[in-house]
Subunit: 421 residues, 2 copies
């Protein structure tokens, strides 16, 4: 991709209404555009990052046996009345169809998934199983915040598991908790902890929030050196560790995921039954597991960006390699830049080429906003030395080679990209 | 994947409320589940097919220079008022947020994309470009029909192109028309024609509908041997070819895609401007291009299924290979079935294994509903002969080998799958 063809506009100067560093960089870099208060369009750049995050989530959900489905954004009011949540969930947006029927925009999909599973589940032999989706939700929040950190409409991975017993749920719940840590690590998050939390509106008993410890977080997390962790809701006024009695350290946290043991709240209220081994009808025990995709992107930027732009790892970067060519009279730099670009494109590596006739400083500022982990600089000076200069935006890669030979650059580049994994 | 683990229920007997063969098979095969009238959940099976269709669409849109974005399902009423369509589009669902603001569920995204492009476009140098999304829409239709053929909520690919001149739009429009034929062919549709149509609510001048000629279609298409084609709206009462004067043949058609030359209707009403080469401000010329994903899946089934189930090609089949093992006392069939399954899984080929202890007839009926192009039958009888029996559901593959040697099945299977492409 040529940077001049990219349908993205980098913006400079101050960004109005952006309260956090990450939000500012998302707007400056042209990753997102606000369509309405709390609703965003993802540009080609922002959507590439989100699709990379979705791929990671999908792989990890599949690895623990998940089966991907797609449920609708809208549903009839009937199933929400059946579960008893129609008048209880304040973020539930409602509208009337031309046919006179009442509809809702699903803010979460327990009702919809239970209705779906009713059409599938007969026998105890079918359990356990987990279905998940990566899909759009709408929550009629009173306020939105910090770009994609808190929005009204957002993409979310939500998974739902179905079990014969509480013990079996707990076993899967523990597996899912581990999968979540793998996901957040692959996305590039560092200070992630899980915290016991209140089930609130969701029902059920045990639940955990995954918190990215960060100063812009809306939540408070109490952490004890003994390993105990809790959020404000579960701790109340106390700031003393209930396990070891020491004073708790207080952190701010962004909630990047949550997992719930739901028991039979939904399966019972909505009459989801299976035939047990003894022939009786029973309600499955359920768990549910959520991760916000856009919020994950926003959180990585909050945690890892510098003042000049986001710092992506190889797995989620919109472009892995950013080639900057410096104008020279012979046109040799542009020619080599194009050659490297075509080689990487052919190999399926996402690459962007900046061969615009503008100042080097502008090119580097744009490269910082795009945040590719590997930057190749092709200039007359480097051509003379027979090398391509390499810069790394991501700290994990900075010990690697800072130049590649032009002769046989293909092999050297393959090796280098292999080392960046 | 083991068929016994698949979170899908095949249903037998008659299906209430299903008016067409395709709708019946979608329900019987467990591809879809109705969440509300005109809103469906895609099961793991249905979503696999849709994701394969989406991959094809994405590849072909990228090939003509498209850049993928994601716009929200919801938007504020403001942009719909600005374009003048807020009170004109009857399928526009509206609701009020808790903050008192008016929202809509976007039935199409001209308003939203123009608002996005306003944040990106400055100069004539940036054009032409095309952005597209694959995303969920809601249309408050008075009736839904034939499963995924006509729904209220649906997944759609919608693309929007921006040009300096009408001539440049027409050039891209012709490229997109060809890309659409490639897409429908890869999806496995046969009787597809493009038909000049009325722009209606969309505005602009020229537009084409892509019609799959099929008896269940809601639309009427007139076709002349001379090559002329038109729909009922453009023909009016006349059934005589305006080009050659011969009587027109009348067909039923399912509208599987449409493309529009929009002119400056949206760019003008919504004040989307760029600076032209001469320094003046101008409105871009736009085109838009739609394909319904779920409808594409439904249409393939209507056109190609037999009475026993869908017939998928390799590109869109949820599973490419379906292994059926026949019980034998030694367990050798199951062992070989598992070995083939593991080999294909390792190679990234989507494969399903049916080693259930049920009648062969039931297994074959399920295999027909899953519709994998290649079916491998491992039985004691075949083991004795030293072969794996091969059956093909798709007619294009039926000339290929009807057995594979057990010895070195890996190599023979690779060759066979290569030939099925």
């Amino acid at each position: 991709m040529l940077i001049s063809n990219l349908c993205v506009k980098r913006k400079f100067g101050t960004v109005a209404d952006a309260s956090t560093k990450g939000h500012k960089l998302c707007v400056k870099g042209g990753y997102i555009h606000q369509t309405f208060q709390g609703g965003y369009t993802l540009s080609p750049l922002g959507y590439k990052v989100c699709r990379n995050i979705e791929r990671i989530i999908r792989e990890e959900m599949d690895a623990i046996g998940g089966q991907e489905i797609l449920m609708p954004v809208v549903s009839g009011a009937d199933i929400w009345k059946e579960s008893g949540r129609y008048d209880k969930v304040d973020v539930l947006a409602k509208f009337k169809g031309r046919n006179g029927a009442d509809y809702v925009l699903n803010p979460t999909h327990e009702e919809v998934v239970v209705d779906f599973v009713k059409s599938v589940l007969d026998s105890y032999k079918q359990m356990p199983f987990m279905v998940y989706q990566i899909q759009t939700k709408f929550r009629d929040e009173l306020r939105s915040r910090a770009g994609l950190v808190r929005t009204r409409e957002f993409r979310m991975k939500d998974a739902y598991s179905f079990h014969l017993t509480q013990e079996d749920l707990e076993k899967f719940y523990a597996e899912c908790l581990q999968a979540y840590y793998r996901i957040f690590k692959r996305i590039g998050m560092k200070n992630v902890v899980d915290v016991k939390s209140d089930n609130g509106d969701m029902g059920g008993s045990i639940s955990h929030e995954f918190m990215l410890l960060h100063e812009i977080g809306e939540d408070t997390v109490y952490v004890c050196p003994c390993g105990f962790r809790a959020n404000r809701e579960t701790m109340g006024e106390s700031k003393i560790c209930p396990v070891c009695g020491k004073p708790l350290a207080e952190h701010r946290g962004i909630e990047i995921g949550n997992i719930f043991q739901l028991g039979d709240k939904y399966s019972k209220s909505m009459h989801l039954e299976y035939t047990a081994q003894d022939g009786t009808k029973k309600n499955p025990i359920m768990g549910c597991y959520g991760i916000g995709v856009g919020r994950a992107m926003a959180s990585v930027i909050e945690e890892s960006a510098d003042d000049n732009g986001p710092i992506w790892n190889m797995e989620i970067a919109p472009y892995k390699v950013h080639i900057v060519t410096m104008a020279d009279k012979t046109g040799e730099s542009d020619k080599l830049g194009q050659k490297i670009h075509d080689y990487l494109t052919e190999k399926g590596v996402e690459v962007i080429l900046d061969n615009r006739d503008i100042r080097a400083g502008e090119k580097f500022a744009d490269a910082d906003l795009l945040g590719a982990p590997v930057r190749l600089i092709v200039s007359p000076k480097n051509l003379e030395k027979g090398v391509i200069e390499v810069k790394y935006r991501h700290p994990d890669y900075q010990h690697l080679a800072n130049e590649l030979p032009i002769q046989n650059f293909e092999q050297a580049l393959d090796t280098l990209l292999g080392e960046c994994k």
